[in-house]
Amino acid sequence: MSKEIKIVAVTACPTGIAHTYMAAEKLEQTAKDLGYTLKCETNGSGGAKNVLTAQDIAEADGVIIAADITINLARFDGKPVLQCKVADGIHKAEELINKVVNKEVPVYSHKGKKSDTPAKKGGVYGHLMNGVSHMLPFVVAGGIFIAIAFLIDTVLGNAGGGDFGTVAPAAAWFKTMGGLAFNLMVPILAGYIAMSIADRPGLLVGFVGGLLATSGATFGLPGGDIPSGFLGGLLAGFAGGYLMLGIEKVCDKMPKALDGIKPVLIYPLLGLGGVAVIMCAVNPFMGMINSAMSNGLTAMADAGLMIPLCALLGGMMAIDMGGPFNKAAYVFATGMLALQTDAAYMIMAAVMIGGMVPPIAIALANTFFKKLWSEEERKNAPVNYIMGLSFITEGAIPYAAASPLTVIPACIIGSATAGALSAVFGCKLMAPHGGVFVFATMQGTWYWYILALVIGAVLGMLMLVVFKTIGSKISKNK
């Protein structure tokens, strides 16, 4: 007897309601009648079912793709792949299977990069990337608009003040519009992470959870307190998504008569309640972290520990890019500005440089070490030069969200170094933001400041390379 023949198949049609499943059944039935094993993945409108595993594909003697829509074939690289209409899967099933068995099918070679992502992205990384890729356009468009606002105010000679970027009406317009896109960043991230986990019912919990992370709502202050930033957004996305899956499980036990109102009423109600409770419970801890840090920073400033303080502040700017750490550092620095002392100006300089390093380091790493990044990441990287130079730390968020454990530590090292150097060189800054546009207002110290920035960014880039390389080695060994 010859070796058992195994075939895998994928079926899909434009609407994903009828033919997908008919073709799958017909192929499986026919294969069974002929004495072969056939596993069929259905890419219907309810998402992919019976998903082919990497092992299924590896063991298969051939692949049948019966689809009227485009199917990503990357995972079938090197396999004999037979492509046909979904209808052929139904009434020509036997012919298709025989073609594969008789090896009349060309071996498929995928031109692009080999990828083992299934049709429906799964796993923590897949969910994360679904959030990040949807967030990217908001970051890029918003960031550039805000940079334009700074540019306009610089050209018109309005640099340096606390309202920099909103002085000229045109600048204010750009800054507001860009700000709107920015405000949606964390909700989009959380929303699409949750949607990747729990499909459509997840969207609501993710979006609202993300908004709550942005506003920092608590039970006592539902209107918002200390934002938990993008780290809170990540939590909202994952907690919200899995919460929704849990709710669906529990609801399975409810009477069948309620099936119709589950997706429109019960899931959203329970989901909203659940995610609101989670986020309001988590956010106060962000407030506590925030005030503890403010106290610590004040104590360090009082003790005159300028260089370690500036290193710390720089590093804090890179930890969460808009969350409690970043906010504590930034608010502390702008609060100090009111004292109008040299120490306050040095602190402000360290904070701004700490916020400028991460996007620049990431952009540099994308420019010089292309292999470490996905195509999407590389394409968006040049914008990070602009955002970094404009002190828009958020440009780094998509990269940090995609691999927090490698990107954040690298950015912290770069930012902390830049902050410390800025203090060592005695750089003083009176403007609370503006990036490269306010360098000219620095009292004769801007060239030292640029040196600190370059060193911090290059160090950050090198750390990214080191951590990313280690990170990919660890995940390969798993």
Binding site: P14, I17, A18, M22, K49, R200, D259
Partner: protein, 155 residues
């Protein structure tokens, strides 16, 4: 949810004889309307025709499954006709269609009904089952055949 939960007696017409594809569609759209599944027959039919223009939903073996996800759909539902003399539903195999189901799927909302429908699609690939449906004398009998088969195959 079971398949028959998506069907109503008013949505089944046995032994009809439409002249062509379009009139078969009209009959079934009308059944959807009578079953209270759609709010606007015109909009719904447009969706059905659009899907047909991407390729006939006749799948051979005398079966056709016109379907659309459409904003005119109030609730997911299924109607059926049997055509003893067959109708030319432009099947790629050239055969006449004798058993037709038309699906109404809401544009938004849950996907529960899709799983239910996929079970029916799987069952239709069984020729004996399809022939039993063609031979059904009453709507009640038609529904019962489906329900029995669903229990047999999926539980």
């Amino acid at each position: 949810m079971r398949i028959v939960d998506l069907m109503k007696k008013e949505g089944i017409a046995l032994g009809v004889s439409p002249a062509d594809k379009e009139s078969a569609i009209d009959i079934m759209v009308d059944l959807q309307d009578k079953s209270g599944n759609i709010s606007n027959a015109k909009t719904y039919k447009k969706g059905i025709l659009k899907r047909e223009s991407e390729g006939s939903t006749a799948v051979g073996m005398g079966i056709a499954i016109p379907h659309t996800k459409n904003k005119a759909v109030i609730q997911p539902g299924l109607v059926a006709i049997t055509v003893p003399n067959g109708v030319d539903y432009e099947s790629p195999g050239g055969d006449l269609s004798t058993l037709l189901f038309m699906i109404a799927a809401p544009k938004n909302g849950g996907d529960v009904h899709l799983e239910v429908l996929s079970r029916l699609m799987v069952m239709l690939m069984d020729e004996t089952f399809a022939n039993n449906l063609r031979a059904a004398k009453t709507a009640d009998e038609f529904l019962e055949i489906i329900d029995t088969k669903e229990t047999e195959k999926f539980s």
